[in-house]
């Protein structure tokens, strides 16, 4: 599968015990994951070019959080997708489905080539928002403000059943304007759901402009905290920082955690698309496509030669 081996590779000289430990969890290699994240953006780009639609800006901002979750943090794979003790994820910002598909494909849930060719095509199972008829997708989303409340239900159920599962959801920052999100924040705080971790992809842009122009979230940190949450912030386009934030969340035993992931919309695609509201769902021209590929390649080269 696409780039899968690269991440799973382990150094040779290891004791048997080390190996056993690492069998359950691949060694964390920030460089490899960062490269994976850039390469998966290229998959997203191809998906969007082929279908003529998609939400590229948010796809690129959220990719590093997804890669950290699926390739470092979460206990979920095609092998254990029906195990009740797995970790659960809901893509609440369902419009970033292209990133989600790219990550799930890289994880082996389906073939990358298939999703690139079939995304949004007539009769396709790869709909323009997550659909749980596809392997690896827990819940359907697309309408904003659903992921957190549904995650609350999952976290409650898993706690009642004494499962080791952790529940993750990623929201957009524009999405936080939905009232139902706050119903979810309130209930999770009330029930002290420490097995729940929400991420806000804080790219500061939404379809009509900056989040601060549309509906301000200046006090998001304090607002969520006041609902009884552990709130942390991280550079959402830095896999090492995201990992640290997810690890910190696991140490909190009496509250749910929200990670405000400060990101750049369009991250990795270069000047042409980074931090531009108009690229929320812009479909690149052939010229723009080449520019973006070049930017992704350059970034990858930079990391390889760090």
């Amino acid at each position: 599968m696409f780039l899968r081996a690269q991440c799973m590779e382990k150094p040779d000289a290891e004791t048997e015990t080390d190996m056993e430990v690492k069998m359950s969890k691949p060694e964390f290699d920030v460089k490899a994951l960062t490269i994976k994240s850039l390469e998966l953006r290229k998959v997203v780009l191809d998906m969007i070019m082929k279908s003529g639609g998609g939400h590229i800006g948010g796809d690129f901002s959220v990719m590093d959080a997804l890669v950290t979750l699926y390739f470092d943090q979460m206990n979920v794979s095609p092998e254990n997708m029906d195990d009740p003790d797995r970790d659960y994820f809901i893509m609440s910002k369902g419009h970033s489905v292209e990133s989600y598909y790219a990550v799930l494909a890289a994880k082996g849930f389906f073939e990358t080539e298939k999703v690139v060719n079939e995304f949004s095509q007539f009769g396709s199972k790869f709909i323009g928002h997550p659909n749980n008829e596809l392997p690896g997708i827990e819940m359907n989303s697309g309408s904003l403000g659903h992921g957190l409340p549904v995650s609350v239900g999952m976290a409650l159920a898993c706690r009642k059943e004494n499962r080791p599962s952790r529940i993750y959801t990623i929201m957009g920052d524009g999405e936080v304007a939905e009232g139902s999100v706050w119903e979810g924040f309130m209930a999770a705080g009330h029930y002290q759901l420490s097995n729940l971790c929400a991420v806000v992809d804080r790219n500061r842009l939404q379809i009509s402009g900056t989040t601060e122009q549309v509906m301000t979230h200046e006090n998001l940190h304090a607002q969520i905290e006041s609902f009884g949450w552990n709130v942390t912030e991280a550079n959402g386009n830095d896999i090492a920082e995201m990992r640290e934030a997810f690890e910190q969340a696991k140490t909190v035993t009496d509250r749910p955690t929200c990670i405000i992931a400060n990101t750049v919309k369009g991250y990795g695609g270069g000047e042409i698309m980074e931090n531009k509201a108009a690229w929320h769902h812009h479909v690149p021209t052939q010229e723009e496509y080449k520019e973006i590929v070049k930017a992704l390649e350059a970034k990858k080269e930079g990391i390889l030669h760090e």
Binding site: Y88, N132, M139, S143, H146, M154, C158, E183, M186
Partner: protein
Amino acid sequence: MNKIPNRQAICETLMAHAKEDKHIYALCSDSRGSASMTPFFNAFPEQSVEVGIAEQNLVSIAAGMAHCGEKPYCFSPACFISTRSYEQAKVDVAYSNTNVKLIGISGGISYGELGMSHHSAQDIAAMSAIPNMRVYLPSDRFQTAKLIESLLQDEKPAYVRVGRNPVEDIYSEGDCPFEMDKATVHGNLEAENDVAIIACGEMVRPALEAARILGEKGIRAVVADMYCVKPLDKDTVVKMAKSAKLVITVEEHAPYGGMGSSVAVEVAANCPKKVITMALPDDHVITGKSGAVFDYYGLNGEGIAKKAVENLA
């Protein structure tokens, strides 16, 4: 006169199973009293979830729990659970195919005096329009219990509407014929009838009363208790229409998009006959207790019988 409302029958049926099946959950939005669910909450605190006054959260949380293997029953006034949390019912329950049972209590105009905000005269239309959502309006406490027994056996979404007040028994402990998704027919479908009356929920009782009144006048009527509004028992609808000269539907709902609309579609397609749909008006419903309001709009035995006589003439 029966003193047990249908909602209490739901609570009792769930309690009878919750002891054995720890996956059965009741979720309320500050509505456990109205839902007659206080005994459940007291007896099974570990299987009870309070979400506060937040119907959207109520339904989403239930969907998340169901996805993780639980069997949640959500209770909230029908007016709120059907439309305040409509999108959650559509996306998190029906579309995501989670085993959530939505129980709309105090349905229709149970809260007659409280105004349109508290009436649910749109719930059948709203819920029926969602793919993968079933809609049930049981007529009395015995049928309600049978319905819940049946719903406990499946893993699909459903919406159930019951009224607030006790309704007169139609069936009895030992005599409540029930087949899932099949209407219960009162009368002879094989005979040549003059009028076929199809009713659901609290309107079944007046429909039966109308049949009695019509019988006294020598007019033959057959009644279907169409508790299964979706999936509609189309087979029985067509048989009803074929057996009679006129079809009358009666429901505690707005005149559009309800059970009557679904029946009319089936009759028009399969056995064209005149269909009269009796329902609440497309207007603010007059203030009053539900019985008085039903009388005002002719949604009682005499009113239905009168409608039959007028349309048979």
